[in-house]
Amino acid sequence: MTDETPPEENVDVDEKREALITSFSEILGEDLVESQLRPNEDLWLRVRSESWQDSIRAVQSAGFEYFGFLSAIDWEIAPEGRYEDTEFDGGLDEEDDEPVEVDSSTGYAGGESRFQILAQFYSLSQQVGVILKTDVGEDMTIDTIRDIFPGADWHERETYEMFGISFRGHPTLQPLYLPTEFEGHPLRKDFPLLARQVKPWPGVVDIEEIPEHLEAQLEAEVMAAFEANGGAS
């Protein structure tokens, strides 16, 4: 059991994941919409949302029996940004801020909807992980996978309260973290972050300029003192 990672494995991983893509496209058939691979790092598969449950089941029977996590992404651009005044963001940025292009499909393995569900699984025998994604349609509903992976129960509840995505067939779909009377879905990009709204950014303050009408006068005063001092400041 000592750590004897074969050195050639790192080279093999790429092929391992390539092989996974082929095997998954066989198993999932047309449920697999798109896949993307970062060599030696990770593998993304996007499946049709109608067959989310079946795909997870297929993935599980393909040996991916370890449930990592389940969550969602909101691809909308937050209206407030980082709540810092962009005019002065230049102090942090070297170049000017190019406005980030607003599109909802920049994620790996593509996507058509604003919200995407993603879940991660490991295969212990192959020592490889896979990330499954699916789009969430207008009805903001998707099938639950807690019957396949019981650990997904809480993850789905969290996703439900944070993004407002409901899970069909989940028996206890109630808030996990937030109080029951809480309104809104905090992790949606349009949900305002109150802590940053109530207080102005201290970085917005800038150095007070010398009033123009005083500039010449102050300059003369300084120069007079400078010359009186004999050129030593």
Partner: protein, 179 residues
């Protein structure tokens, strides 16, 4: 149910620790109880712990180096640094030069009630004006009093220790604290 060895071993461990605490001295002095020495606790108000030199106790400000560039204030994750300043005219550096415009620092406050002691401000400071010091005794009865101004921050400059040497194998250069 009880098999004695495990239970008795446990008693042995506690007794041994008690012995070590009560009689920490070795040799002929063994029998003199000295719990003050054997206990690992530091009797705080009477004796004080010396935190390591790198400990992030409080941020000290070397005011002469500060150019009011606002970098620290803008990179603070908690927005707890407040800087105000104004521009003044300064005499030229050399003979015949033009008067320069420099920033004068009016206000440099750190709200230690908000500060998370992450040290990003110290790190981004390009002019070596902010330093960590291991000083830790600056608690206040009222939370508003934790907002410290530039004079108070400047006082802490005296407690800033020198930067430490590195272990062999390091390629870092030891920086100097401006005094």
């Amino acid at each position: 149910m009880p098999q004695l060895p495990g239970l008795i071993k446990g008693l042995g461990v506690t007794a041994k620790t008690a012995g070590r605490t009560l009689f920490p001295k070795r040799g002929w002095k063994t029998l003199i109880p000295a719990p003050q020495k054997g206990a690992v606790t530091v009797q705080y108000p009477h004796e004080k712990e010396a935190p390591p030199e790198r400990a992030r106790g409080v941020i000290a400000l070397h005011e002469e180096n500060c150019t009011a560039c606002m970098l620290c204030s803008r990179s603070c994750p908690d927005w707890c640094i407040y800087i105000e300043g104004h521009k003044v005219k300064a005499p030229p550096r050399r003979e015949g030069g033009k008067p320069r415009t420099v920033n004068m620092l009016d206000r440099f406050d750190i709200d230690y009630a908000l500060c998370m002691y992450c040290g990003i401000c110290v790190e981004v400071c390009p002019f070596d004006a902010l330093f960590w010091t291991p000083e830790y005794e600056y608690s206040e009865p009222r939370i508003a009093d934790l907002l410290h101004d530039k004079d108070r921050l400047g006082e802490w400059m005296d407690t800033v220790p020198d930067f430490l040497d590195y272990e062999p194998g390091s390629e870092q250069t030891v920086r100097k604290v401006p005094r």
